[in-house]
Chain length 488, copies 2
Amino acid sequence: MSEINFRIVARVIGILLCFEALFMLLPLSVAIYYNESDIYAFLLTIGITAIVGLCSTFIFKRHSKQMGKREGFLIVSTSWIFFSLFGMLPFLIHGDIDNITDAFFETMSGCTTTGATILDDIESLPHGILFWRSLMQWLGGMGIILFTLAVLPMLNSGGGIQLFNAEVPGITHDKLRPRISETAKRLWIVYLSITVLLIVLLVLGPMNFFDAVCHALTTTATGGYSTKQNSIAYWDSAYIEYVIIIFMLISGINFSLVYHAALGDYKKLLQDEETKWFLFVVLLATAAIAAGLFISGQIYGNAEKTIRTALFQVSTCITTTGFATADFAKWGPFFNVVIFCVMFFGACAGSTSGGAKTIRMVVVLKNTANEFYRHLHPNAVVPVRINRRVISYDLVSKILAFLFVYVLVVAISALVLSSLGLSFEESFGCTLSCLSNVGPGFGRMSSDFSFEIIPTLGKWVLSFDMLIGRLELFTVLILFSPYFWKKS
Amino acid sequence: MSEINFRIVARVIGILLCFEALFMLLPLSVAIYYNESDIYAFLLTIGITAIVGLCSTFIFKRHSKQMGKREGFLIVSTSWIFFSLFGMLPFLIHGDIDNITDAFFETMSGCTTTGATILDDIESLPHGILFWRSLMQWLGGMGIILFTLAVLPMLNSGGGIQLFNAEVPGITHDKLRPRISETAKRLWIVYLSITVLLIVLLVLGPMNFFDAVCHALTTTATGGYSTKQNSIAYWDSAYIEYVIIIFMLISGINFSLVYHAALGDYKKLLQDEETKWFLFVVLLATAAIAAGLFISGQIYGNAEKTIRTALFQVSTCITTTGFATADFAKWGPFFNVVIFCVMFFGACAGSTSGGAKTIRMVVVLKNTANEFYRHLHPNAVVPVRINRRVISYDLVSKILAFLFVYVLVVAISALVLSSLGLSFEESFGCTLSCLSNVGPGFGRMSSDFSFEIIPTLGKWVLSFDMLIGRLELFTVLILFSPYFWKKS
Ligand SMILES: [K+]
Ligand SMILES: [K+]
């Protein structure tokens, strides 16, 4: 391998920052519209971000455009980091957050669509800042669609998840541009359409236009940032809750399938094995939690509301959105275990959701069933099939390695958090919540929906968890492998 | 496949029961020697067990001796169950335990070398009963040596662990007898020698002969039953603790390697990769826990005793022995996470220890490192090597499937326990402790070292965990697979 071409990395990051500055014109407009104190913060941030972005873009313009895998890995990982570094400036300049650790955590939580927050008085924030939090998640979701459908296949990374995206046309190895734009454009149109449709539906309910826009942005991105401290519970509206449930579930499905369904081709969606499993797990977990709530006497008003509450928490956790209508972390150990399993599970590949993803779990479950069969018939060849297609042995192994690393990261991260004084449940809960990009806290972190009280080191570990969870582990972790930096 | 030959299963179980009755003559002798109230209980149990055993052996004598894999799986799984069903009779007849759930739990915990107990006043038991508890563990350990080194390879089961036992000669597929007896005999001699040596060393310290025998039996078997409610802490002796630490670690090493080392061939042991990793993890975890104790100010008298306490708990948990010199479950979340990791890890394959086993973890770690390499060089062929030998892809996949099922069983079992009212930590702690055949409890179960307060259903689930953990999961779980019972 040749040396890493850092110049092209710097140039791409420069372009990214230019886009970030452009998108920041939106919260600036909101700030100007409401004429609030955050106008200056956005103006200054846009200025800084645009200057750094433009300089980086033009200084490295004339240099070699050769780009290989390693540059790809570097660009993807540093994209989210640089986006956060500049995206956190409005919080700091406006003074909503007074230290870099918290500001970085909040911004990384935003652009990875995690939604964990260190703020404990959301309603006091100006509209521009609130809108920026939501927009970051929406942009992060857009980035993740581009990443999983176009960049991952090229990098051959991510524990085999890319091969399930049947929609991805053959992308050539050395060039990013050719076919990506076409696929990405189609999916972004779906993404945008869902968002607009949701805004309309929310405005029809008891939500004002501003809140509707913000929640539509964070629902479609399965992000979970809210404009209210009490999240969706604030509205106490069955209509809002059902609408959000449906759109969280839609946002948990492979966007290619949603695209085809939107064009009238429902067949692909209805016959997709991953979607079926995903919905099956939603129903199963909802039944378990609803039953548990009834048995333990934790009734929410009436039967309908109790079942709705169960369905909402399962949907929000499995799609890794992280909205809340109840403090489910307080329900008891049984519910926590179910929620943990569901958070680990995640929704479908090719969506904006985090977690291990249904498809990986299904492949591993099928492979395990085959392993039992092979115990009795050692010479039998029994491949794993998804949607009638054979999944190669190599891919199964990649997926198993992915899950192993996932569990390993959970263990190491929980170990660090527990050494900082977090309880057993808090350590595992917050790690899993951040690594799977879900968002809600556990234990003390669940009471006020805020991660504020976690020590500084813990916040950096969790920020790192969000990043590697969002980028399917290997994409980031490979930067820590000696192979990556070795000249050979 | 033909029909399952239940008759040969019944005959083998009959023979096993005859042996159990024979071995019970030992606790009977102890009871007679101390002239205590448990003589009658053992006499009656021996009578019942011998009659059932002899009947089963002779009734099914004339029938077909054809034995295949499925009969093998059935025999192994039911062996431990029937051994427990008859082995629990002395507890019930003598009245030490007043219900079948608790008696079965205690006996299954014994013969699987788990050592979790529902008794909360061990010292009140007569000597015969105490000896029977220890002897059960020793016999269980003996059974497990036979199982991993001879039966597993034949059944091609257990997540690939058998292939590492380089000592196992080619055993033909259809017959149990030919080479097993030779290998097993050699290893049992090692097992017996270690036990005798340990008795001598313990008697030289402040332990009486009876306690020395009982503890030697349960140390070599990595069982963990003690004759004192406070376990090894009762003696408060540095000598006893160091002796037990050393013998727990020896009992955690592959017995084939111990055998060769005992004959003067140290080279194999010193060069063995699994042993090196095992000892490395012991040192690493001890350092982490000792450092944690010092930092958190939980000092045990002086520095030496604090480090010794850390080393003891790590050794007892990683070798899945389960003796205690401190209530480590109360140390705090950080320590619990370390202990959990160590319990999951386990010691070496081919020992009497439980858990996932070091070799499996090493293979998976190496495979993961390779997966990173393959991300950058997709066409490179980089096999996993252990002791310079290549581990086949098929085997790596088996091991990954094993670990996945392990985690799955932990999750399901913890879910059931949490639904019965156990806390989050108790549910996961007790499940892992039983599944890995370690023994100590967590949360409320750690205070008096007793599982008594767990609800009935929970005790049965944990008994089942002990059984499937002891028999490397697949051997038992395959009985629940439809493939097993299907005629084809
Ligand atoms: K989220
Ligand atoms: K044990």
